[in-house]
Amino acid sequence: MTKQEYAGPILKVEDIHVYYGAIHAIKGISLEVYQDEIVTLIGANGAGKSTTLNTIAGLLKPRSGSIEFCEKPITHLGASKIVPAGLSLCPEGRRVFQQMTVRENLEMGGFTRTPEEIDESMEDMFQRFPRLKEREKQIAGTLSGGEQQMLAMARALMSKPRLLMLDEPSMGLAPILVEQIFGIIQELHGAGVTILLVEQNAQMALSVADRAYVLETGSISMSGPAQELAHNDAVRKAYLGS
């Protein structure tokens, strides 16, 4: 499959509003991701980062606004239509299928694809994550936190997404594993995967990203090149602890 090039953004979110019952969680967020970028969303707990990703992935429905992926509207599609379109979310808290084996988890990641494609991607994943190959037949619930994070990322990649969304991949991991996970993110980027990354660890996120958006209580307060934001005084004060 030859990769289709998009001059415009491959993901375009325009003025979405999301509610949890009466709570107005997302108040008009717009953002864009271009092909081959790493874009990060940073912000405090409860700013709406995960809600934004879950809405793009089709788990939540925006009350207004629009989402376009590869120039097609996906605002009202369910997750089961969005995945085959090439958009994959590796959710917060990893959420691997605890009672299934590593291999079965990966198979499920390729649910929308043919058995041949699954086999091919499985080989890729085992090459990229040799640890998963060693643990192929192990029940996912018995893996360590770092291994589960790798499994969750590999599972999200099994659908061969054009855009991979990662929600807090470093959450709850030891510093050395955080380094490792960010190393993998850069490798994936090098291999041509476009990434939308949500992180609490703003410093790490800004160091790998091309561009960043800062989220504050449901709306975007700042955006720009990651390097610039990393040196912005307000951002440093609020998110980088200096």
């Binding site: 369910g78 979310l89 959710p91 959420r95 605890q98 198979e107 929308t112 589960q148 709850g172």
Partner: protein, 294 residues
């Protein structure tokens, strides 16, 4: 000794029927996280359809069973779509009440269509009896067919959930609906499929139940339904082998209790055992305690 063996075989047979019904409860609970109290009444509908097909329309037994399976599968999926699917985001109490309402609706529809007079279910299995140990132990054909059907169903379902793509998808939905959706699994479709399988099995259970206990009336499904639900909880609700073990044990306990302790207290003994098991193992015999790994 022979009396005990005979009771044991009958217990396993009754338990096999409970197990097949319990599968419907346990799978629907596992996937849709709801207790489908109308499940017992789907069994009754299945039995009536098989009865009509054989008695009034003159279908051969196998065809009568197939028609009952088809009707029940359709009925189960329709019930889910019309009554339960709109409540996907509602509280579990609302769903529970709806299920109880659906149970009464089915019973009363049956009352309207087939009347209150019990029908005598014909012997559709028609294998006669087998005499063992010089005729000291007589086992009815229906009893053996029931046990065999249970074994076949268990093996088939175990293979289905362990090996096939749809079976694995069902396990995903059961474990984490949101994550399953992120895999591209069609959650609503998976829930429909679960209801289809459960109701399909309900038709078999209805056919087997009435072959062994041939009195058919609109409330025929209620008590076996409740007992099978008990069996599912007993074995560990959500677990397929649990439904099997829970069902068979419950049947054996019921028959042996009735034979050796007290006929009147048979059902009380069954529920007492359930209470004891749940006190010792709150998740049931084979239920997994959910472990959280940080």
């Amino acid at each position: 000794m022979m009396a005990f063996l005979s009771n044991l075989v009958n217990g396993i047979s009754l338990g096999s029927i409970y197990a097949i019904i319990a599968l419907g409860y346990t799978m629907v609970y596992g996937i849709a996280k709801m207790l489908n109290f109308a499940h017992g009444d789907v069994i009754m509908v299945g039995a009536y359809i098989a009865f009509c097909a054989a008695q009034y329309w003159g279908f051969p037994p196998v065809l009568a069973l197939l028609v009952a399976m088809a009707v029940c599968t359709l009925l189960g999926v329709t019930i889910e779509k019309l009554a339960y699917a709109p409540l996907r985001q509602a509280t579990s109490l609302a769903v529970l009440i709806t299920a109880i309402g659906m149970s009464y609706l089915l019973q009363n529809l049956a009352l309207l269509i087939w009347g209150a007079n019990p029908k005598v279910f014909p012997d559709l299995i028609g294998l006669g009896s087998i005499a063992l140990f010089d005729g000291q132990l007589v086992v009815k054909g229906a009893t053996l067919v029931t046990i065999a059907a249970n074994i076949v169903i268990m093996v088939a379902l175990t293979l289905f959930t362990a090996r096939t793509k749809m079976g694995k998808a069902m396990r995903c939905v059961s474990e984490d609906r949101g994550a399953a959706e992120l895999m591209g699994i069609h959650v609503n479709g998976t829930i429909s499929l679960t209801f289809a399988i459960g109701s399909f099995l309900a038709a078999i259970a209805g056919f087997l139940l009435c072959s062994s206990y041939p009195v058919l009336q609109p409330t025929t499904g209620s008590m076996p339904g409740i007992k099978a639900f008990t069996a599912a909880v007993f074995g560990g609700i959500g677990s397929i082998p649990g439904a099997m073990v829970g069902g068979v044990l419950l049947g054996v306990i019921e028959i042996l209790g009735k034979a050796y302790i007290s006929t009147e207290l048979g059902d009380a003994i069954v529920f007492a055992v359930l209470i004891i098991v749940l006190l010792v193992r709150p998740t049931g015999l084979m239920g997994k305690a959910t472990r959280e790994k940080v």
